[in-house]
């Protein structure tokens, strides 16, 4: 399945900045960064549980927020990109 993850982490304190870095790192292990605090992930249900668990352990829900958008398997219809930094299609041919 395809999941879009966005987050807001309060970065007023050094701890907040640390949480922000950790959230970004966790997201990078599972998907690709499409915008600054927006990630797209192609994961199976088990991987998703793992990812979600890891994220929820990092954030402090009083100050930070996480949003998950479940785009399903037919996500291509639901995503349109305009402008710079086009992402790669993780299911398409990957040739560098």
């Amino acid at each position: 399945m395809y999941v879009l993850v966005t987050y807001d982490v309060a970065t007023a304190t050094p701890e907040g900045q640390k949480r922000l870095r950790h959230v970004a790192k966790a997201c990078l292990d599972f998907g690709q960064r499409v915008q600054n605090s927006v990630f797209e992930m192609k994961v199976d249900p088990a991987q998703w549980e793992e990812c979600k668990d890891r994220l929820l352990r990092i954030v402090q829900l009083e100050q930070d927020s996480l949003r998950f958008y479940y785009l399903g398997a037919k996500w291509q219809r639901r995503v349109e990109h305009h402008g710079a930094k086009a992402s790669y299609d993780v299911e398409g041919p990957l040739i560098v």
Partner: protein, 343 residues
């Protein structure tokens, strides 16, 4: 059930792959060009001068991502494997079967049958679609002779006899290969199969696709716990992946040859996409190689149905399903190895 995941192909010379978290980062000229989480990948194939960090290779071995190095032109050099996966009992069964002439002959018969039946399907399909009347006639004639071979294969009971029939059928198939090429001109005229080196563009393209196919089948053997080196139709030889070559036979014509022919017949490849070297060997240009990889990858992602298991799957996963059927036969769960017969 194993899922069909993507393969990352690195063809940019001088690229360096490193591990970043649980992802692979492709660095080109000190810039990260692409970053893909390992769990989205089945395999990484590096062509030519491509480096990789030991940490990445280790992570791939652990995550079950097959990692291989090939020459710039697609000849296999090495792969990185972790601990031998799978079951030692399965391997022992595989070796015992190789030592048993009766079982070897039975497995070889299935493999050869699959190969001939599928080559025949490719010829008949071309005869139905696209070929002119004269070509269609020749294709049908050759297909008829392959049908006769199938009857002989069914009756053959020694591996040597089956090897002979396989060779005969292959040369019959290739004798009408020109009738499958629908574009005018001499670029893709097929004379005979040549490899190491391929002496014309068509052979060059076929060899490249066969390498890609072999990589996938090798990984499928490893992932299933089979030893890719010990085959039945193909004799043991140091460095030769006998079982992978065996399992490849039923896929050559319907998968690799069809991709090659589609690229040629749709004129997605032409004379300018090949370079002739002084040795007489033909090579794909960098740009053309990428186009072939895209076509290959797209073909593998197409949805299909496994006729025997009656399961929806992708074309790329068929090799894994066949490797598992082979494992089931070797374990004794099946009475025979059922080759994949393409429709």
């Amino acid at each position: 059930m194993k899922r069909h995941l993507n393969t990352l192909f690195i063809t940019t010379q001088g690229a360096y792959l490193k591990k970043e978290g649980q992802a692979v980062a492709v660095r080109i000229e000190r810039e990260t060009r692409l970053r893909v989480p390992l769990h989205n990948l089945d395999a990484i194939a590096c062509f030519g001068r491509v480096g990789a960090s030991p940490a990445l290779m280790g992570a791939c071995a652990e995550a079950g991502v097959s990692f291989s190095f090939l020459t710039e032109h697609g000849r296999f050099i090495a792969s990185v494997n972790g601990f031998t996966p799978g079951n030692v009992l399965l391997r022992r069964a595989q070796y015992r079967a190789a030592d048993d002439p009766a079982i070897s002959a039975e497995l070889t018969r299935s493999i050869v049958l699959g190969k001939i039946a599928n080559s025949r399907t490719v010829l008949l399909r071309a005869a139905r679609e696209g070929a002119d009347a004269e070509s269609a006639e020749r294709l049908k004639h050759a297909a008829g002779r392959l049908s006769a071979s199938i009857v002989e294969v069914k009756a053959a009971d020694s591996v040597d006899r089956l090897r002979g029939l396989e060779g005969e059928a292959a040369s019959r198939y290739f004798s009408v290969f020109n009738d499958l090429v629908l574009v005018a001109g001499d670029t893709f005229r097929f004379k005979k199969r040549s490899r190491r080196p391929p002496l014309d563009p068509l052979n060059c393209l076929l060899s490249f696709l066969y390498t890609l196919l072999l990589l996938d089948i090798r990984s499928a053997c490893e992932a299933t716990g089979l030893d890719a080196a010990v085959g039945y139709l193909h004799r043991d030889r140091p460095g030769r992946p006998g079982l992978a070559l065996d399992l490849m036979e039923e896929f050559r014509a319907p998968l690799a040859d069809r991709v090659a022919l589609t690229l040629i017949n749709r004129q997605q490849l032409g004379a300018r996409d090949f370079v002739r070297q002084e040795s007489g060997a033909y090579l794909l240009t960098d740009d053309a190689r990428k186009r072939v990889l895209v076509a290959w990858q797209e073909r593998k992602q197409e949805e299909t149905r496994h006729p025997l298991l009656d399961a929806r799957t992708s074309v790329g996963l068929l090799v894994h399903l066949q490797a598992r059927l082979m494992a089931r036969r070797l374990r004794g769960d099946l009475d025979a190895y059922p080759p994949l017969i393409w429709k």
